[in-house]
Symmetry: D2
Subunit: 307 residues, 4 copies
């Protein structure tokens, strides 16, 4: 389970939390232009992001390319459904999609067009790695889109909310958000009974009704509220984005599942203007940062600190 | 557990629900002016209401007197605390209070003054009947007050909300109501993120956040919302009051306690202008009605239909 | 806006609320077997229900046929999308659907098969009556189904929840219901912090979180909670069904829309065993009842009392 | 507005957020044993904490003394009411209380006894500084207490929840917490309708109902949930405490008041075992730390970074 968000304040800031019960050895990985990243792929845009490296190949969770286009994959366990490879089609396996889109597209517009041509397949990277049921948020300096493959059909949505979580599908999340439209950063007015003269007893009461739990619809609404009300002016876009991600953080121990404790393993913020990937594995402590150097010719792997 | 409410529309309409696991043989009882109703009491105002008759004496749950003053007792299980009888004081046992106030007071103002003089005691009516931990709502055509005896001290509050439930004490219920002040009968406006263009997807969305469960704070807020927004214009005050009470009704089966299923055993509406006591034990079906005849000299008992 | 529900207790009880700002002259209408009810239709099952009669033709909101099959149409304003008439197809206009299904089907199974053959069209009954955007709940003594026509495609769903409201589409309502799965008619246990020794302060606390407002998703959840927990044992199926419908009643004044006050104009309960249609326009007062007599040869119109 | 919390994991970790619209020049201040900190006070325990220094005198918001006793003051705007100075009484002005208690007490037990002797007064530090309406949380390695002065009467409560926010008074916050007792870090079970077979659609659903807004009762419940479920095992007590405080953080822009944007200006964590005061003004970034050196004879002021 995860949450993603974007912010624009002197360029794009894009990030996500990754919530899981255990690490799969994620590391921060730079892939140079010349490194083959998908079947039949040649030269491509360089990219930097979080990935599990298997057999020398980075399986990206989220990344930014040298053009500042950002993309993250998040669980969509029940609804995601990919197709079978079709002869003559632009077959892209689910695990290749981030590399394929970031490798070939310089903008969200280009990504949207590319997604329209893709036949996303359920082929596995390896027999012991069944395809992950995901959807994706893709952002550039101008706009955000969401890509969901349901029943083998690729749907691409404009995402004005600027956030993404997990189930249900994006249109259903947006429907649910409409039920929270009266939540406000302002002080509440007394609409229940004006004659009663009810007054606030403190601040922060305009957002009463904002859900505080860790379920996917609640994280979507909460992230949308903070993302669309927080002020990047004060600490800049990176600080504001980490505020958004902090609001949907899952502290260790607060989510006990059959598979163990699920918690926020890392939060990251990609800054398109500076081409940096910044991440932290803890709720306090200095985040680490790596810069994407487009001309670097070598694959680089930075230890993430995930355990 | 219970909820009480008042409405004014061509005079006072006052009513309550009684929520319990079993009936104690409640009946609708008229007490004539001459019938002794409390220790040392003489001639008094006649009254009509729901009571359990024990040893020929009506123990009122709620009633109206011939002046149209209405009063109901509701559980306050944790907070209510009565005093010991004191020599020379105006000692009134908890089970006598409704009869004493309705017998001697013609208005909420008079009731408030009388409550200020009373020493409310924890004396039992009978060894097998420990004193009930209650608080009371008292209403006339002009205003509502709440009386709570906590730690032996009688507190009387002006009740502008016009409703009462159970725990916590009335000031704490009013504090909690302030947290729901933005709930509205109007359609919601998009305060979460104006740029997103969120729109309602149907009506009734201004009250999203109104609690729908059967706990006492939730019933207080829900009754306050409906009481202060419903239109008596359409069906008259009685119909509107039953709408308020219907909104806090506990359907059988929806509240399972250690003592069995708690549910709304009856709902009643007293009309001060017509001096009628109207009640129903079901959620549908014609309510029954009895008229208070001030000059009638006999105690009258009407079967309530409670089983 | 509306809510529908079914209950089975010695046969099917099926009903709905109709929430609107004004009446369209709805009346209770019996249609005999011989009366033409749709284009090309001949002899059919007799039916009884609430309808607006236009040009001598009953436009049903909800009805039961002589086999005890029941059906109700509810708003689905945003999602419903019908097709165009197609040559050779079983074209049924939206306003004909209830009559067509109840006229030709004796069970939910038969209805499901018939719906699979139908091409539901957006043809209007009259130039001043644009097609209503609806979905339908259909119930017999064994099961409930929901029919939704989205983008011209008819989807039929098994409805184990036994209730229906408005937007969003049925699968999304069921998804949302899963978010409320821990609501309980039982007393809550202390899961937040066992060491704290938190205890209930009254009954009804197991359902804290049940939404109390009038929006469609909230009415769906509330009706589902009450429907699946209330005890028909006490007052019988009709009483229990009216409890369910009472829990989603919209009191006049609590929903103010641009088009005026929306409120529950009527609630009805069809009893399949007795073939009766029972309805009420008020929250109190004896409901009226009419019996369906299959062999009656005349169209009968009973004044509904709606104003 | 503020939230405080304690955790015990190899000794006490105690901290708080301070939410406000502007800084009053708070700095981290060490007060040596010999520095006079209240009227008539002599030698006392050294202490370290956040304070505004006025006329060379530190007005503490929160601090820890050399014995590891910690204390924080939080707004209680409506309910706090101090007394007038009384001749012969142990008069302590509201602004002196933290210094007085930390200066003279080595444990929560001693603090509780001292609070029982104090006459807390509304005297001002300066004409332009009216007394702040506060209540206090005091913690040592064994337990937490809350001190509230209401109507001139000092109430000291055992605080098993281990958190504190603002209005209402502590017993009312604990009452409200009981309404959330079924919130769980575990996956939810289907209690709404077992026959329906409802299943979770992701993790984190056991806490659905946890409030996510910034009002005081919501912050109290949320902090209590996280504090009592989070695992200090992973990152240690300091990390876990910052998780608790992070869950009630107010991002800049999400709380707009008449007085400007209220937001979390700093979060701090005092570690009793190491006698360190750790704080951060941002949601990311390395926190700063200072160590309390009991024998140091000089007042030390560390710039806090608050702006």
């Amino acid at each position: 389970m995860c949450t993603a968000a974007s912010l624009r304040s002197g360029g794009l800031f894009f990030g996500r939390t990754l919530d899981n019960c255990k690490s799969y050895g994620e590391e921060v990985v730079f892939s140079p232009r010349s490194m083959p990243l998908w079947r039949g792929g040649g030269e491509h845009y360089a990219m930097l992001g979080m990935a599990t490296v298997r057999g020398g190949y980075p399986l990206y969770y989220d990344a930014m390319n040298e053009k500042g286009l950002c993309m993250a994959g998040l669980n969509l366990t029940e609804s995601a459904g990919y197709g079978a490879p079709a002869p003559g089609a632009a077959n892209v396996a689910q695990h290749e999609l981030i590399a394929y889109i970031l490798g070939t597209c310089a903008s969200a517009d280009e990504a949207e067009r590319a997604l329209g041509r893709v036949n996303l397949t359920s082929e596995s990277f390896a027999p012991d790695m069944p395809p992950a049921a995901l959807h994706w948020m893709i952002s550039d300096g101008r706009r955000d889109v969401v890509a969901e493959c349901v029943g083998g059909k690729m749907n691409v949505y404009k995402n004005d909310a600027g956030v993404l979580a997990n189930e249900p599908v994006f249109p259903a999340q947006m429907f649910n958000l409409r039920g929270h439209m009266s939540l406000s950063a302002e002080e509440p007015r007394n609409a229940l009974c004006p004659a009663l003269g009810l007054k606030p007893y403190g601040f922060g009461m305009g957002a009463i009704g904002l859900p505080g739990d860790y379920s996917s619809p609640s994280r979507f609404v909460r992230a949308a509220f903070v993302r669309n009300n927080c002020s990047p002016a004060a600490g800049g876009g990176q600080s504001a984005l980490f505020e958004v991600l902090g609001s949907v953080r899952v502290p260790r121990g607060c989510c006990r599942t059959d598979g163990g404790e699920a918690y926020t393993m890392y939060s990251c913020c990609m800054c398109a203007a500076r081409l940096t990937y910044v991440w932290t594995t803890d709720c306090v402590g200095a985040p680490r940062a790596v810069r994407l150097r487009p001309r670097c010719a070598d694959m680089l792997v930075y230890p993430s600190g995930l355990t």
